[in-house]
Structures are given as structure tokens and as C-alpha cells.
């Protein structure tokens, strides 16, 4: 079994217009910059993107939005040090935004990957973000019904991966990546190191290979935070 793909370009080549794409990362940590840039090069339009944020500066997700490829964003916190790209497009009515509380976003993705179509959470009960959602009482407390979330593709960043798709992460760059890996029809992982099957301790595998379809070796991946301090722009 060999899920490795030679280039990021090959890995994302079949993502079509209109696809729903989950993109890992929290701010810049764990953001698969090289896969996102390959997606910019590939050029599909009208994407729905699921990410915690809305990008920062002019690289990664912000650049994907700047290229006009994103029709809708599902996120919890579209603010950053430099959210100009998203903010201007949003205020001009050029992009749809679905705001989801961060824990609900994570749980919706986890539910999507786990075959749970809906669940109840106390989060957002009585707030504007619960508007239109079913509510129910359990044991004297009120809860909001939220739906599982799935995607056509997930672009994630991992630290080590083997050809079977088993993955480990690096520190807080783990964040949304493992849950998004479970919730997409096709999960594409960029990994800083490719190792042989058997080299990862089965005790320490965070994402088992069953959730991963393609593994791309991206040594020395770029970090959004550093790119933005350099005022980098993509493309």
C-alpha cells in the first residue's frame, strides 16, 4: 500500500469547482501552506472552505480567498493580525460566511467523520448563533441541535507520515488536522517527513491511515506566521 503522491500539485489536481474543502490549522500553526498554494495554482472556483479562521496577510487561506476561489467560508474566528483580504471581500458581499462556535465546529467535523448526523450541545443556546436550530431539553437544561459536517476534500499538515497514511503531528499544529482527516471523502496530507511503514510506533499514531488517501512529502514546510512577518504574497 503506497498512498504517497509526488507533488502537492498532483495531490490537489482533482479538486473541482464547487468542492467543499476542509483546511487544517489554527491560525498559521498546522496550516498546510504548500497544499493551499497548490490549490491556488490549480484554480478551482466557488469552493466552500472549512477552517477555524479566515487567513492572515496574503498567503495560504488569505491568498486563496484573495484569488476569488472561495464562495463560502465556515469558520469560528475570521479575525487575525491582518484580516484585510477576508474583511474587505466580506463587507463587499463577495463571500458568504457561516460563523460556528469553535468547539461546535470541531465537534461537527468530528461527528461528520464518525457517522453522527446530529448532536446536542449547550453551546450557543439562547444566542443569535442558535437562531433557526432545533432545541431540546435534557435533564432540565436546554441544548441546541447541531449537524455533522463532512467535506469532499481535506487538506491537512502533519509531521511524519508513512505510505499507509499513518500520521503524527507537531505540537499545537495538531489542532483541527486529525478531526478533518476523518471527515472528508478524500484526505490529503502534507508531511514534513515520510517514514517507512512500521517506523511509527503504533502507540503514537495520531491519525490512523484509514483516514488518509494521499500523502505528499513537503520537507521544511513554510509557516504562515513567518511568511507574514516577511510580508510574503502568493502567488
Amino acid at each position: 500500500m503506497d498512498k504517497t503522491v509526488t507533488t502537492a500539485a498532483q495531490a490537489v489536481a482533482d479538486i473541482p469547482d464547487g468542492a467543499c474543502v476542509m483546511i487544517g490549522g489554527f491560525g498559521g500553526s498546522g496550516a498546510p501552506i504548500e497544499l493551499i498554494h497548490a490549490l491556488i495554482d490549480a484554480g478551482p472556483k466557488n469552493l466552500t472552505v472549512v477552517n477555524n479562521n479566515a487567513g492572515n496577510g496574503h498567503v495560504g487561506l488569505a491568498a486563496l480567498i484573495e484569488q476569488g476561489q472561495v464562495a463560502k467560508l465556515i469558520c469560528s474566528f475570521p479575525r487575525s493580525a491582518d484580516p484585510k483580504v477576508f474583511t474587505e471581500l466580506y463587507l463587499a458581499g463577495g463571500i458568504e460566511l457561516e460563523i460556528v462556535p469553535q468547539g461546535t465546529l470541531a465537534e461537527r467535523i468530528r461527528a461528520g467523520g464518525a457517522g453522527i448526523p446530529a448532536f446536542y450541545t449547550p453551546t450557543s443556546y439562547g444566542t443569535d448563533l442558535a437562531t433557526g436550530k432545533p432545541v431540546a431539553e435534557f435533564d432540565g437544561r436546554m441544548y441546541v441541535q447541531e449537524r455533522g459536517l463532512k467535506a469532499d476534500f481535506a487538506l491537512i499538515k502533519a509531521e511524519r507520515g508513512d505510505p499507509m497514511g499513518n500520521l503524527t503531528y507537531r505540537m499545537a499544529a495538531r489542532n483541527f488536522n486529525p478531526v478533518m482527516a476523518t471527515a472528508a471523502a478524500v484526505t490529503i496530507a502534507q508531511v514534513s517527513h515520510v517514514v517507512a511503514a512500521g517506523d511509527l510506533d503504533p502507540e503514537n499514531v495520531i491519525t490512523p491511515g484509514i483516514f488518509v488517501n494521499r500523502v505528499v512529502h513537503v520537507p521544511n514546510p513554510q509557516q504562515e506566521e513567518i511568511l507574514n512577518r516577511q510580508e510574503a504574497v502568493y502567488p
Binding site: M1, A114, T182, A183, A197
Partner: protein, 228 residues
């Protein structure tokens, strides 16, 4: 009936062999406790399936030699196993996220009865005693393909392929293919469609030991398995 099933029907190993031929290279597979576990033995040369067990292992291999068992390394049937390279451990909720979330390519299970609409009964004989369901109800609604391996009839000769299950259901409309000791049947559009049968059994005799109508959709292939 002119047919003596005992003379012609496949052994369990042969049924398992036939089911194994439909497992694609790279497939993620869960095999039910007991008879279905035998399917792993018959992976075709050159194909590599990855086996999942509900208790939190992906990529396990053969049983260890007697005396080499580590009882922290077992499968859902509580039998000792070994690991293949690229294996991973995970907890029970993550394990059933794999199952329920549609990540397994195929689950192969045993059956008391399969109905022509795909209903499966394999967890309870409905006769009292201690009920026990395990992971069967999760598997039937999770794997992309749910196949059954079974003798064609019960030990008493009653059909196991039926119009509607009499026993308590494990799942509704979940089975898509049945490998029996006499034939291979697909469940499609609420009907049994015969795909392969042993040359030694006539269509009429096969129908006579089947509890629901066997339809045809194109040629019926010959069910050929090696001596095992």
C-alpha cells in the same frame, strides 16, 4: 428433493475463500467474530487488505504461535493477534468512528437470516437466554459494503435467505452480498439476484432451499472454489 446438500455444498473455508476474492487491494476490512475471521487466511496473492478490529487495532496480522500470546493484543473475538507494519492503536470511540463513519470498505459477517431487502438477523435467536450484541449493529450501518458468509440453510435445513427475517434484526436493509455454501447472491432493489452458483446444483434445487425468490440479472456464473 433430489439434492443432498451435504454432498455438494462448500465448506466454511471455501465460503471464506470465495468472499476473500472480492476484497480489493488496499481495502480496510472488518471480519465478524468466529467464522468470518477465516476470510483473512485467503487473501489473494499480491493484494494487501488492512484488518480492523473493534477493540482498537488497525493492521493486525496472524495469530501468534501458542505460548507467544500477549493478552493485551487481542481481536474482538478475544483471540491473540500480531501486528503488521503500519499498525495503529486507538480507543473504542475512535474505533467506532471508523466503523460508523463509513471508513471501512467492507465488513463480512455471519447470519442467522438475510432478507431479500437486505435486512440481517445475526445477533439473537430470540429464544431468551442472555442477549449479547457486541459491535454487529454498528458494523452493519457503517461499512461501505456489508457482506454475509453463511451456510445456505440452517442445520435443520431451513432457508437462511428469506423474504423477511423472523428473528430479531441486527440491521435494516444493510446487506449487499451473501456468500453461501451454494451460491453468491446480491441484494439489490429489494430482491435477491443470483450471481454465481455451484455447477452441481440446479436452479430449481437452489430455489427450493431458498426462502425467497432468486432473480437473475444477466448470466449466472459458476461458483468455483479450490479444495481447501
Amino acid at each position: 428433493m433430489s439434492l443432498d446438500l451435504n454432498d455438494i455444498q462448500l465448506s466454511n473455508a471455501q465460503i471464506a475463500w470465495r468472499a476473500a476474492q472480492d476484497i480489493a487491494d488496499g481495502a480496510y476490512v472488518n471480519l465478524g467474530i468466529g467464522f468470518p475471521e477465516m476470510v483473512a487466511k485467503f487473501q489473494p496473492e499480491g493484494r494487501e487488505a488492512v484488518f480492523h478490529t473493534e477493540n482498537g487495532v488497525l493492521g493486525f496480522g496472524r495469530a501468534p504461535d501458542a505460548g507467544d500470546e500477549d493478552w493485551d493484543l487481542i481481536n474482538a473475538g478475544k483471540k491473540a493477534i500480531t501486528l503488521n507494519p503500519g499498525a495503529a492503536f486507538f480507543h473504542h470511540a475512535d474505533s467506532f468512528a471508523m466503523v460508523r463513519g463509513g471508513h471501512l470498505d467492507v465488513a463480512i459477517l455471519g447470519a442467522y437470516e438475510v432478507a431479500q431487502n437486505g435486512d440481517l438477523a445475526n445477533w439473537s435467536t430470540g429464544r431468551g437466554g442472555v442477549p449479547a450484541v457486541g459491535g454487529a449493529m454498528d458494523l452493519v450501518h457503517g461499512a461501505k459494503r456489508v457482506a454475509v458468509i453463511t451456510d445456505h440453510v440452517t442445520k435443520k435445513g431451513a432457508p437462511k435467505l428469506v423474504e423477511a427475517c423472523n428473528l430479531p434484526l441486527t440491521g435494516v436493509g444493510c446487506v449487499t452480498r451473501v456468500y453461501t455454501s451454494l451460491c453468491v447472491v446480491d441484494v439489490t432493489g429489494g430482491r435477491f439476484v443470483l450471481r454465481e452458483k455451484l455447477a452441481a446444483v440446479s436452479l430449481e434445487d437452489l430455489q427450493s432451499v431458498t426462502g425467497a425468490e432468486l432473480h437473475r440479472d444477466g448470466d449466472v456464473g459458476e461458483l468455483v472454489v479450490p479444495e481447501l
